[in-house]
Symmetry: C2
Subunit: 391 residues, 2 copies
């Protein structure tokens, strides 16, 4: 007879690319009594979630709700709804998640033009213009915060670029939403998606999406049916919107946790939260560079919630991560794709973006490096303290 | 400034078509500390989940893991992987979820032949043979327990039927898995999916799937790429299997809850659990019929975890459900599609399948009907007690 052992996970300090630490209230919210997915009280809660997501995305868009899946499900949902087979898609690819956008675009049947760039650098408007070569596109898609490289794109500049191609503007906000400015309406973004397990500090399992009125028009004007039934936003919308038409059973407990995360986020204040993420990111950069470590990305293109650090020559990067996990119960990320083995990725996201974690990860990383006979330039904490003294 | 109110859901007694009541331990499991999706301890937990799912599905299939989405995502994942555009699909459609199977099959690009049947009756092998009209099919798909009608299909008889058409056998086990026998290997099912929020008594948000070796061969022999990246089982399998290749961030907290639900289920024993569901279903039938209510489905074709009850003439069915919710905090389901307004659906699933709920729902339903001047034949509890005295 098969028996399973009770699961007793240790307390991890989650400073990788996500999942990040959830606020205890957010985890507790998952234990609240389950309601039916059409219960009038649950429907009222859904409306609160939509209101919270609009505030978070800084948008008046009617369509703003979570897809019942992880961040990648939001990526697929937005592309499969806004693109039809044969449509031209221009995608910025300077990292793993840009490549994923292009791959999903191809699977949807779009004719994909990739804007190739160095992993670790931002693509600029000129890169898009060069790759577009004067052609028109149904959509321009890019990753706002590239989790694989720690680069932030200048999303605010992209509306004008998309307009030159007659394109809808689609942005991956998985790592940026809730951790730094995302201005859907002001920046003219037509389709955006995110995940709950990064700067929102909620458990993984939902992907908040939003579509502009222009994107909805495009959806209404489709000549072909959306190939996915699960991700058909017209159907999901009729459940999350006024009709309340049954589509699938919403993951009630995950919606509870997202609601609580949004409630805490609005209580903290969106700007205050952005500032917190920025302060802690800059303190981390000060600490790491004071130690003699090199950051992958030039400061102006650096993503705040996630920092990529070059692995020094002669260091076994996986051994460092094992050391951190074993001696500090601390998780940081390794590199993906062409950066595998070459960088670490340190996330300060959501509830994990706090001063204590900055000092901890600097100290622990230094210890892990010294364990491999690496000569640290300086004990990094004075640099961290000096940074905080200035803000 | 926008603020959200704290969410304080009432305790509902969930006797609808799902979500069902979760065991308190299962909800509590969601609050355990989050681990990373590649943490060695999480990877060990994933293996336990796969072991538990194999025991639950009664299979030796290597591929057995949860899709990161609700039950419908499992339906879409199995179809989009096992079918290619142009493939012939034979689907049993005698209810809402059979129709959904056909719809998703069409979206995948399959040539769908529907085996039409009366909603509330089971389709038999002869119905499939007649509709197949001597043709061959890539797959035969059917709903094991049709949640919209309360009918159970004779899945054990379908392997032979599928073989006549050279077809893979696909079964929707959303409402049956964990609540009544599902014998993937013995019955020769090639692809099956389920949900967590019914007889598994876990929160909604994951869809356990399994594929037979023959289904995996079919997957490996595909001529076209799977159109969905999120649901590409070859990719998801390389994360859940030996490679541990990153595909998407697993919903850690949901996996914790599924693991705990599987642990409790195996502790109870699968056969004991089936028996519990059967006893309580039969007691419910005794109580309802003693009251003078008519069940939609003939006894031999009746699904155990979910019972469809005809709404008596002159009764406002929605008013009954409002009455139950308001006075008893009790949820039952209404009809879907062509049965809308004509039936109630009463689920006794997972932790909700218990004697107290049988008596409660009979008593409360009687009160709701009497409130609309309906003449109850008999107070139903003696019939319920009489039933339990016999088992």
């Amino acid at each position: 007879m098969i028996t399973l052992r009770p699961n007793s996970p240790p307390v991890r300090i989650l400073l990788g690319p996500g999942p990040s630490e959830c606020a205890p209230e957010v985890l507790q919210a998952m234990t609240r009594p389950t309601m039916g997915h059409l219960d009038p009280l649950f429907v009222a809660l859904m409306d609160e979630v939509r209101t919270g997501l609009r505030a978070l995305y800084r948008t008046q868009n009617e369509l703003a709700f979570p897809i019942s899946g992880t961040g990648t499900s939001g990526m697929e949902a937005v592309l499969v709804n806004l693109l039809e087979p044969g449509d031209a898609l221009l995608v910025g690819v300077a990292g793993y998640f840009g490549a994923r956008l292009a791959e999903i675009g191809r699977r949807v049947g779009a004719r994909v033009t990739e804007v190739a760039g160095e992993w670790g650098r931002a693509l600029g408007p000129e890169d898009y213009r060069r790759a577009a070569a004067g052609k028109r596109f149904k959509a321009l898609a890019l990753v706002h915060g590239e989790t694989s490289t720690g680069v932030v794109a200048d999303l605010a500049a992209m509306r004008g670029v998309a307009d030159e191609f007659g394109a809808l503007l689609i942005a991956d906000c998985v790592t940026t939403l809730g951790g730094m400015p995302v201005e859907i309406d002001r920046w003219g973004v037509d389709g955006a998606y995110s995940g709950t397990q990064k700067c929102l500090a909620a458990p993984c399992g939902l992907s908040p999406v939003t579509l502009s009125p222009r994107a909805l028009e495009s959806l209404a004007a489709r000549k072909t049916q959306v190939s996915s039934w699960y991700f058909d936003l017209a159907l999901v919308r009729s459940y999350w919107g006024q009709d309340r038409a049954y589509h699938h059973t919403a993951p009630i407990q995950n919606v509870y946790s997202l609601h609580e995360a949004l409630r805490l986020l609005l209580e903290e204040g969106l700007e205050a939260r952005w500032q917190r993420h920025e302060h802690n990111a800059r303190a981390l950069w000060a600490g790491l560079t004071a130690m003699g470590l090199e950051l992958l990305v030039p400061e102006r293109e650096r993503l705040l919630p996630l920092t990529a650090v070059r692995v020094p020559a002669g260091i076994d990067e996986a051994r460092v991560r094992r050391f951190l996990l074993e001696h500090y119960s601390l998780e940081i990320g390794g590199g993906l794709g062409s950066l595998k083995g070459k960088i670490w990725r340190i996330g300060l996201m959501g509830a994990g973006s706090k001063r204590a974690n900055v000092e901890l990860v600097c100290g622990a990383l230094r210890a892990a490096l010294v364990e491999q006979s690496w000569k640290a330039k300086d004990y990094p904490l004075p640099a961290v303290h000096a940074f905080y003294a200035t803000v």
